[in-house]
Subunit: 344 residues, 2 copies
DNA sequence: CTGAAAGCGCTTACAG
DNA sequence: CTGAAAGCGCTTACAG
């Protein structure tokens, strides 16, 4: 069906090996025959079979991507990854946590069986990644963690994500500078997630100032949205916090809504800070003060790190570079949801 | 490195072909040796090389997926696809429109070169898909269109999406029943998109009732969010519409915001209906009346249709089934953004 | 019922 | 500088 090297070889009157070499980069074939072969290949619409090349060269130009999609943040992460990959003719096989078939190990094997050159993984949910990653590392397949750092900082696994601690400190400073002293933090469950890291860093930062209080609440994630319960609990405190740090824009939005339900005005009665600067919330009322992340750039950078590792593995020149952990800085975006506390 | 059939054959003292047959389904090997071979395979941790199997059998257990991610709707679409695929040990190579590398044809070749068994495609943006799809169809690779129907209804391309016309009619009926007669429709650019189809169907439905007016406006999509300009233009009409149909939840949200900016109350001064029932907007204020879609089910169904076509192709029993076009019904969800017009 | 051989479409040593 | 051969790890006719 498809055109093969053999077809070209027959038309050109040379061996199949000669065609393979002519089409390859290692200019081993004289200019004139080479041009002739190339022309025939083009005319016939030749396309290499990447499966065979993969077997032969040990490179499939394919990576595995393990991540879930829920928000616009995730979408941008993917766009960045896709952008870096397509620059180098790579494509991703994308697998996500599936409630019915939660077997991560099987997914990893599914990637390995297809001989992916590397794996990009966003290690969310409670999975014990350290165990599952064994299979990948044994095969010598590079792995990069995306957005969420793997708890046991394995020396073979690079990381690319956000400087959550710095971001949370900046948010804390913003609110402290405005004069706030009673804080609430709205967090999510898993201690490994960026959200938790932010929440802890925020609490540390405000606690370093005398005369402050800071109460942390958890917000339940039902798989699709956050519940309002955590936000309500914070607003029911006596005395009520004057400022609440939402560890993501989405939980921050639940605070705004809960305040609205109680007739509290943001920012007059309550200041709210989010984290991410997701576009979808840019039109929220009031507009949200937040720490801007650049998920596209995180995705792009992470994919590049992975591609570099893959190259490194094939050009066995020097010894491999040490583990890299890139943490991108966030930027404070002040909008209408923060103000000095009432009566200050 | 990896365990091969040869390794197993040596340990078992049989030929490599025997191992291949023993591991396959066609019980051609006697029970006792077969069990022995299976045990050795398990002990050695044998995993088949799917690249080789792909070359050999013509099936890679891999499909190509061409779609962009932006909203939660897209994420659910993907979840549904993933769910159906993983049921059958399939994985998707996911490619999306990339502003810098917009060459769809190259992406298609990139999939074909990797010998995907089928392609699932969401034919958004202005691309002339009919042309690009040639390359796929020539190879005999099945294609299913997802969510957006390809304009020229090619007989080889199945479709799975939403019954937009029925949904728009239902929305129109809801507002007409409430007593509205002056309508606005907020739409998006491309006439092939579901949004446009909904807008037209809505206008038709209300125009079928005497004494109604219906003005359509376009809302600009800046690649990440919708601008408010279209919504403002509708609110500036004299007389102002009493009800606006947003052809997606996101544009409906811009209407609510624009109304808010003008001090108009929803639903007292203005009724707004959305389309999709995206979770992220369930917490909007006021909560939005909308036509609920089930993107998970659309994705799942579309992927199943594709897998069926792939099977059909390999089990050349009967002649192929005719083109299928599945349009899922939507459900009207009445919330707080719709009410009878003022003064009625 | 089982083994030896051919073949899938390439690349890469190895001879001339 | 070029051709013929071997090999990647499988599956599937084809002989015994």
């Amino acid at each position: 069906m498809a055109v093969t090297l053999k077809d070209i070889a027959e038309q050109a009157g040379v061996s199949q090996a000669a065609v393979s070499i002519a089409l390859g980069s290692s200019g081993r074939i004289s200019g004139t025959t080479r041009d002739r072969i190339l022309k025939i290949a083009t005319d016939l619409g030749y396309r290499p079979n990447l499966l065979v090349q993969g077997i032969q060269t040990g490179r499939t130009q394919t990576i595995g991507l393990l991540m879930n999609f829920a928000s616009a943040f995730d979408a941008h992460l993917f766009d960045g990854i896709h952008n870096a990959l397509s620059d180098q003719q790579y494509v991703p096989i994308v697998l996500c946590r599936d409630d019915d078939h939660g077997n991560v190990l099987e997914q990893i094997h599914s990637l390995l069986d297809r001989r992916v050159d590397g794996v990009l993984i966003r290690p969310t949910d409670g999975t014990v990644w350290e165990d599952h990653l064994e299979a990948i590392l044994q095969r010598g397949v590079p792995v990069v963690a995306l957005d969420v750092e793997i708890q046991a900082k394995m020396p073979q696994i690079d990381f690319c994500g956000t400087d959550d601690i710095h971001g949370a400190h900046t948010a804390a400073k913003h609110l402290l500078d405005l004069g706030h002293r009673r804080f609430g933090v709205l967090n999510s469950g898993d201690p490994r997630t960026p959200m938790s890291i932010r929440g802890q860093a925020f609490a540390e930062a405000v606690n370093a100032t005398k005369g402050t209080t800071c109460v942390t609440q958890l917000s339940a994630w039902n798989g699709r949205t956050y519940e309002n319960d955590g936000a309500r609990a914070l607003l029911d405190l006596t005395p009520r916090p004057t400022a609440i740090f939402g560890t993501s824009d989405n939980v921050a939005a639940t605070v705004v809504h809960a305040a609205d339900d109680r007739g509290l005005s943001v920012p007059d009665d309550l200041s709210v800070v989010g984290f991410s600067d997701t576009e979808i919330l840019r039109s929220s009322r009031p507009t949200l003060t937040t720490m801007r992340q650049d998920p596209f750039e995180i995705g792009r950078r992470a994919a590049k790190m992975l591609l570099d590792r893959i190259d490194e593995k094939h050009n066995r020149t020097a010894s491999p570079a040490p583990r890299q952990a890139v943490r991108q800085k966030t930027e404070l975006v002040v909008r209408k949801s923060t103000a000095p506390p009432a009566g200050s």
